[in-house]
């Protein structure tokens, strides 16, 4: 009797914990199911163009190139901004800061991570958009750079907290050995501690990028959403996420446009999935080492 009870409880717990696997599978399944008919008509080649005009009254066009480059440009810039800030902050907090400083810094960084993206977007609209406009003398501040700045703001807490975990879990015997051999504190940090924690830092960056590329609301609000193929950070871009968010609401169910949006979602999911796997690989490596 007791044994059966135990089994039932165990089964219940297993069911609860496998729900998330199930949901991921269901999401993949439905995305593919909704996207697939597009491959037959009008065919996948129509996704490769550089004109995104899904509601054109002359000829609909579903080239996702501008959306891809838009997402990549914003994400790449955000990453370039977020990596040095995040990693240096993590080193400072875990190695240099006094306990009292740490007590202040950590809660604030966690708070930044908890801010809803629409709030950050609003902040960006009011502060960053006019700032970018006046600093670069542009006629509008709704640019890829503005979006990247906001996204960096969102990636930094992720990078800091995971990097900091990685750095502080480097065994203290490494540091003691380094100091005993006559290395200075800075030499120890940059030649011993950081390299030892490198895979954790790489994982934190990958997860940060994952958050950035999937972020929607803030970029929708500040990047201007013009679907052009460009690598100029001071022009407007349209990201994949903003496109889905802005267009899914009113699209006719089952139309080419509807299916094209599912393709965009599928590609986005593929990218974030790949990034997550990379991060997992990097993380497990540092746990073993």
């Amino acid at each position: 009797m007791q044994k059966w009870k135990e089994k039932a409880v165990k089964l219940g717990l297993l069911g609860a914990s496998s729900t998330s696997i199930l949901i991921v599978l269901l999401i993949f399944f439905y995305l593919i199911k909704e996207a697939l008919p597009f491959a037959l008509d009008p065919g996948l080649s129509s996704l490769s163009g550089s004109l995104w005009a899904p509601t054109s009254m002359l000829k609909e066009s579903f080239g996702i190139l501008p959306l891809l480059t838009g997402s990549l440009l914003v994400t790449a810039m955000a990453t370039i901004i977020a990596i040095p800030v995040g990693v240096i902050a993590a080193i400072y907090i875990s190695e240099i800061a006094r306990p009292a400083e740490r007590e202040v810094l950590k809660p604030f960084i966690e708070l930044l991570a908890a801010l809803p993206s629409v709030v950050i977007g609003f902040f960006g609209l009011v502060v960053f958009v006019p700032l970018v406009k006046s600093v670069f003398g542009l006629s509008t501040g709704l640019t890829a750079l503005t979006g990247a700045l906001l996204l960096a703001l969102m990636a930094i807490p992720t990078i800091i907290s995971i990097s900091e975990d990685a750095i502080s879990s480097v065994p203290s015997s490494y540091k003691q050995a380094s100091l005993a051999l006559g290395a200075s504190k800075l030499e120890t940090i940059f030649k011993i501690t950081v390299p030892a924690a490198l895979s954790g830092i790489v994982a934190s960056i990958t997860l940060g990028i994952g958050r950035v590329i999937g972020e929607t609301m803030a970029v929708l609000m500040v990047t201007g959403n013009a679907a052009v193929v460009t690598m100029n950070p001071l022009t407007s871009v349209r990201t994949m996420t903003a496109t889905i968010a802005a267009e899914m609401g009113e699209v006719a169910f089952g139309s080419h446009h509807y299916r094209a949006l599912f393709w965009v979602a599928l590609i986005l999911l593929g990218i974030t999935f790949a990034l997550n796997i990379l991060a997992q690989k990097a993380l497990s490596k540092y746990k073993l080492g």
Partner: protein, 303 residues
């Protein structure tokens, strides 16, 4: 041991699927239940009257507001509002699959004939008017536009303000997202169905267009008349000429009503000569002062 684990995982997964499915169905039943529940308190023996409205996407919001208000006061009515576009609505009316067709254009005479031949002769009800204002920054010296000039700007054919009597500055085009009814109307009537310029910034809301025009000196955007008059202190609404020879007309309730302002349209609800008294009751509500108040609140112009 390993085998048992996989087996139990499979059972657990199936269990969760079943749970999710039943939860989904339960939700739907619950919804239907509340709708029926609303009807019972006034008159228990009356059956729910179903009315469908199909058609214009830009009128979706307006029709929903009417339907909600109407159902608040007439609890035994269930009004369903569908989009799809004016053409879809009219087609549905011709085929008799909808009770009311909402359309942001007049029915063509061929469509009227077809409806008559199908025994669904259409009755036209003009329910609201809509005007679209062209907004620029107050510091921009440009005085007016012809509709052709607007087309050149928004399709990206002309990109500099100096072509329009302004300084040598690049034009920043602001448009709504493609899901917006205003976007489609503007594309159809001003752009003559051509594509918007790829460099046009697509803004998620009318308020974002107004903010941007107020901030960026060389921006141009279009907004519904209701919004434009609210924001008149921050943006400059410019008059529009139908063509070179016509006078420049400012958008206003009066100029939209007398059709002198070129970027305006009428909004219709089409019913049938054979419509039931329930459908006419709804149309009467729409045309009543209460119904027209909703028109005003939604940013349109009363008929």
């Amino acid at each position: 041991m390993k085998k048992i684990n996989i087996f139990s995982a499979a059972i657990a997964t199936i269990g969760t699927v079943a749970l999710l499915l039943t939860a989904g169905c339960g939700g739907q039943n619950g919804n239907a239940g509340t709708n029926n529940g609303n009807g019972e308190n006034t008159n228990p023996q009356t059956q729910t009257v179903n009315i469908t409205i199909t058609g214009s996407d830009s009128m979706l919001h307006l029709c929903n507001n009417w339907a909600e208000e109407f159902m608040k006061n007439n609890k035994n009515y269930m009004i369903t509002v569908n989009g799809g576009g004016s053409g879809v609505g009219i087609k549905a009316l011709i085929n008799g699959t909808t009770d009311i067709a909402s359309a942001s254009r007049e029915m063509k005479s061929a469509e009227k004939d077809e409806a008559k031949a199908n025994g669904n002769e259409a009755v036209e009800n003009l329910v609201a008017l809509d005007g679209i204002a062209i907004a620029i920054n107050p510091e921009n010296p440009v005085k007016d536009f012809t509709t052709v000039q607007l087309k050149d700007i928004f399709t990206g054919k002309k990109t500099n303000w100096k072509d329009f009597g302004g300084p040598d500055q690049k034009i920043i085009i602001l448009s709504r997202e493609s899901s917006s009814g205003t976007y489609q109307f503007f594309q159809e009537h001003v752009l003559a169905k051509e594509n918007y310029a790829q460099t046009a910034l697509l803004m998620p809301a009318t308020s974002a267009i107004i903010d941007s025009v107020a901030q960026d000196k060389w921006a141009i955007g279009y907004v519904g008349l209701g919004y434009a008059s609210e924001a008149s202190s921050r943006i400059k609404v410019v008059p529009v000429k139908k063509d070179n020879a016509s006078p420049a007309v400012m958008p206003s309730e009066a100029t939209v009503k007398d059709k002198t302002y070129p970027i305006a349209r009428a909004l219709y609800l089409y019913t049938k000569t054979t419509s039931t008294s329930d459908t006419t009751k709804f149309i009467d509500f729409v045309l009543s002062p209460d119904g027209q108040n909703i028109v005003k609140e939604a940013g349109y112009i009363t008929k």
